[in-house]
Symmetry: C2
Subunit: 361 residues, 2 copies
């Protein structure tokens, strides 16, 4: 591949070379159809085959039981923040665990459609910590408990999921889905925007236990109704056909390398390169607490905000791009999603060593 | 280009060869950034340049005045059916003109959020007719009048827009936007799903007079709020970055060939090839009334539904694909959007002549 950089963006983010290569090969003429996938009617046989295979592969890769529906929806994870309220909360009460910016937004959006109880809020530690079981103030009468599995901005991740005492657990996995094995049966619903580990921006993937799908609130926009989308196999209106195809390519690649077990092994190895280095020195300060560290987003600061800026711009000159942290936490952030190769993490650590040597005064 | 077919699908549909060629060239490495556009953070400088240029080019090509906002939103045109209700209707009354399936869906969706008055419904003529001014029962107290500019399924199109007596005119132009010049000033809002003349599925483009943007209903999902999207320049959440880039490529191509004037000239020439032939013979029966014919979707039947099926399958063997009509109207449909070359229409007519000769008994 020609002059590729290591792109540490938090999302949209890097795609695996193999995925891009196949997309390019098929761009003009998908399997002798004489057309690009982008040009296919969503109701054509050839596209429906792509669509069904993508769902089947997702089911295999994540080991999704048959009593869960897979929906491809519009509006990203933010659309789902509302959809959960409109389709599941519906005037009832739910517990929201706030571990970062997106879980807060999810709670605010759901609060339009029912009673939202904040079971934990990490704002006092600037979201550097994932709560322990006894830090959660769960309500006896909550319809579900909502968490964000990985917090992109702060670089924290749930290592094991909370005991929700028989309640339904709903997880926004936008930034760590497909990075490791999870037991889908432990969740009522898992959802994710596709633009991190599932391909490109334009779809939200919803994996939902069928028992949770029922009539939505009366004024629910059609595009956010689970019942309507289930009835129409995610084609109540034209779905984002190309992002779904890209997801299929990503899933093929994950299967080929050995599935989520191998993916997790690679992700652990990559993250270890960065965290081991961070723990071995005193120049950079990691943001997340040790027990709460994300395998996907590694957040840290140099001793000085001006050095952070210099770091990002010097790194970019070496082909290590998009390392600037989110404005809410500052500093630096290396997003090392599935598509980031080990060599990218290694090159970054090598740059970090050099940068520290030059700038440690 | 290798073995391209003429794809007459109603949407998603054909892309111009020049657009696909450039997308392929830039797929691995956009302008020496070392990454694909698909991999770019929506907040990166390089992507924001693509985003702003796309908006600027759209403004130039359609001659959109500065007091109109351009929004890129999620959920396709169907998402907008609800958004119009949530942001503009808001408990008031509006007139809806029903000229086909999508205008009906628009009315049903808006009715969740206010009073919808049906100012005309063409169901008695199976939507073969665009109403004349005196067929419209407009309400004196309607906040706006909603029309669907081109009816993909039935093959009808408004030749001139109705006089709405000083009211706000809102048009769904999903299937004829960019096909000809329209005077944006005549509309309060124009919107379109992108997958016909604007590129690929995944975004809705909204062109709205700024005075129509105000606080949405309290329980409006964030992704459907015009005010929120305007405040965040369509980036309240991650937009569908690649479909926006494709729109930019499509617009570049339109500017290069000579803008909407030339586009309209080409579209008229293409449609004339088909309609002139239809009017010269008696084997095929056109669905739409002569004065209501669409430049984008040409609908017709053979004398026999079984022959319709044979027609579509025989045509496909000649590289003329996706000619089957929509289930609501049956028969055949040739969608000849901007990207369809004249040669495609000519080849289709040549096939139609041969097929009629062989099957006219």
């Amino acid at each position: 591949m020609e002059n590729r950089v290591y792109n540490f963006a938090a999302g949209p983010s890097m795609l695996a070379d193999d995925v891009l290569i196949r997309m390019k090969e098929e761009l003009f003429n998908y399997k002798d159809t004489g057309m690009s996938v982008m040009e296919m009617s969503h109701r054509s046989k050839i596209y429906l085959k792509i669509f069904e295979e993508t769902k089947d592969t997702l089911r295999r890769v994540m080991d999704i039981p048959e009593d869960y529906e897979i929906l491809f929806m519009h509006g990203g994870a933010t659309g789902q923040f509302a959809a959960i309220g409109l389709n599941i909360l519906k005037g009832n009460k739910a517990d929201y665990v706030i571990t970062g910016n997106f879980s807060k937004k999810a709670a605010q959006e759901a609060a339009k459609y029912g009673e939202v109880h904040i079971a934990y809020d990490g704002k006092d530690n600037n979201y550097s910590h994932i709560p322990l079981q006894d830090e959660l103030g769960l309500s006896p009468d909550a319809r579900y408990v909502h968490i964000c599995a990985n917090n992109t901005i702060f670089g924290t991740e749930w290592k094991s999921f909370p005991d929700v005492k028989g309640k339904i657990l709903i997880a926004d996995m936008s930034s760590d889905i497909l990075s490791k094995k999870v037991n889908v049966k432990d969740f009522g619903m898992i959802y994710a925007g596709a633009q991190k580990n599932m391909g490109i921006a334009g779809i939200a993937v919803v994996i939902i236990h069928k028992s949770l799908i029922s009539e939505a609130l009366a004024d629910t926009p059609a595009v956010l109704s689970y019942e309507l989308m289930q009835k129409n196999d995610s084609m109540y209106n034209t779905p984002a056909t190309y992002p779904i195809y890209v997801l299929g390519k990503v899933l093929e690649w994950i299967e080929e390398i050995g599935g989520l077990e191998e993916m997790e092994r690679r992700n652990r190895a990559k993250a270890a390169v960065l965290y081991d280095y961070l723990d071995s020195q005193a120049f950079y300060r990691p943001h997340a607490e040790k027990d709460s560290r994300s395998l996907m987003n590694v957040t840290f600061t140099t001793p000085d905000p001006e050095l952070d800026v210099l770091f990002a711009s010097e790194a970019a000159k070496q082909g290590l791009v998009n390392l600037k942290g989110h404005r809410l936490v500052g500093g630096l952030r290396a997003s090392i999603y599935n598509a980031m190769p080990l060599a990218g993490a290694e090159k970054l650590v090598s740059f970090m060593r050099d940068f520290a040597k030059e700038n440690d005064k």
